[in-house]
């Protein structure tokens, strides 16, 4: 933690600090690049991932976990790619890479373990909602849910004192952390998260999921994507999975709900699936 009394708490401060936030591992960029090239084969992907033994082991464990539920045992990366597809693999690589960022020390007031659970719960909800919406790339929604609050980690890392003040304020006044951030820091985690997505060069869809998860209607052509994360966040809080730093639930944006065209029956099923897979997902992603 490097926050001192002289820490500049301003949006300009965020802009300069964010450049020093951990970058994504090279393997994520390499895989992203390969996936975008039509001539890439499963073997090409395997060659890149095989250089990282920890990642290889982790991916195989994930693919073989009941969480993904494939009937036969998958023993090679190229086979894994063949089963789950390039996009899903890229998102798995991404998920396993960002987990390390969640291992911050935290404090009594901002608890990383609870925050991690909130992120995983939202990721599960987003993936299930995407399934109900007939989306093809459901893994992308999982990733968006997993990192939707990543701006809070940036705040914790670089604006420790004022951020913890905001966390205390959220609990004391019983308000959303976002509102408390606005009062103390004058900027919010969705703004900071959006900035980090730009810095990490992530696709506009993922940027929109992070930047607009509190105001999905402002995401324009990506309202659907941001809306899924917005709704998943609400469902995750409703189910009491972890904590994003406050004890409140944001109001569902009505225009987004209308846009998504889901039914209450869909929500019921999604929440049930979230509960069924929650412990499993937390354990597998942490292992």
């Amino acid at each position: 933690m490097n926050s001192t009394a002289t820490t500049e708490v301003s949006w300009e401060g965020v802009l300069s600090k964010i450049r020093t936030f951990p970058t994504l591992p090279m393997v994520v960029h390499k895989i992203t690049e390969l996936v975008s090239q039509p001539e890439t084969s499963a073997k090409d992907i395997e060659a890149v991932i095989a250089k990282d033994q920890v990642l290889t082991a982790k991916l195989l464990r994930l693919v073989n976990s009941p969480f993904y539920g494939f009937p036969q045992k998958v023993t090679t990366i190229s086979r894994a790619v063949g089963i789950i597809g390039f996009e899903a693999l890229r998102n798995l690589v991404f998920s396993s890479s960002v987990i390390n960022l969640f291992r911050s020390q935290g404090s009594d007031i901002f608890r990383p373990a609870e925050f991690w659970k909130h992120s995983v719960g939202t990721a599960l909800g987003a993936k299930e909602l995407a399934r109900h919406l007939g989306e093809k790339q459901v893994e992308e929604f999982f990733v968006g849910g997993l990192i939707h609050d990543i701006g809070k980690l940036v705040h914790e890392e670089y604006f420790g004192d004022p951020f913890r003040q905001a966390c205390s304020l959220a609990i004391r006044n019983d308000i959303l952390l976002r509102q408390a951030e606005q009062e103390v820091l004058h900027f919010t985690h969705d703004q900071t998260g959006g900035l980090l997505m730009t810095q990490w060069n992530l696709p506009p869809k993922v940027l929109a999921m992070v930047r607009f998860h509190h105001q999905p209607a402002e995401a324009r052509e990506y309202q659907r994507e941001a809306g899924v994360i917005h709704l998943a966040d609400i469902l995750c809080r409703a189910k009491g999975m972890g904590s994003g730093g406050d004890n409140k639930i944001p109001l569902l944006d009505q225009s987004t709900w209308n846009t998504l065209g889901l039914t209450l029956g869909d929500l019921e099923q999604v929440m049930q699936r979230m509960a069924e897979h929650f412990d499993e997902a937390v354990a597998f992603l942490e292992s």
């Binding site: 469902l235 809080r237 409703a238 569902l252 029956g265 019921e268």
Partner: protein
């Protein structure tokens, strides 16, 4: 209230449409007030969903009344009410709260 998964059907609910076996044979006619035995029979015949009449879907108030009878769920219920306290007046948020409380009851079973 429309289609309900067989797992969520409760005794006393009224069938709004005939229930059929997987071979399309009539099992129970429209208007049947379902008993435990009926529900077991439908499950045995592979019925996965049924149409039930309006009053069948429990309201938030019904669910809360049932929750009050289970002391083990009191703390979870209070925590939920607290989390939803600012948004409970919103129609959609109320629906979400109803689903969560219903699931709380089901998970307890």
């Amino acid at each position: 209230m429309g289609r309900l998964s067989i797992d969520h059907v409760q005794p006393g609910m009224i069938l709004a449409k005939d229930a059929h076996t997987f071979r399309k044979q009539l099992l129970l006619p429209t208007g049947t007030a379902l008993s435990d035995k009926n529900i077991e029979m439908m499950k045995a015949w592979g019925v996965s969903e049924v149409d039930t009449e309006g009053c069948a879907e429990p309201s938030l108030e019904d669910v809360e009344a049932r929750l009050r009878e289970i002391p083990a769920l009191a703390a979870a219920n209070v925590a939920l009410d607290h989390r939803f306290s600012d948004v409970r007046d919103d129609a959609m948020m109320k629906e979400i709260l109803t689903i969560v409380k219903k699931q709380l009851l089901e998970e307890h079973k």
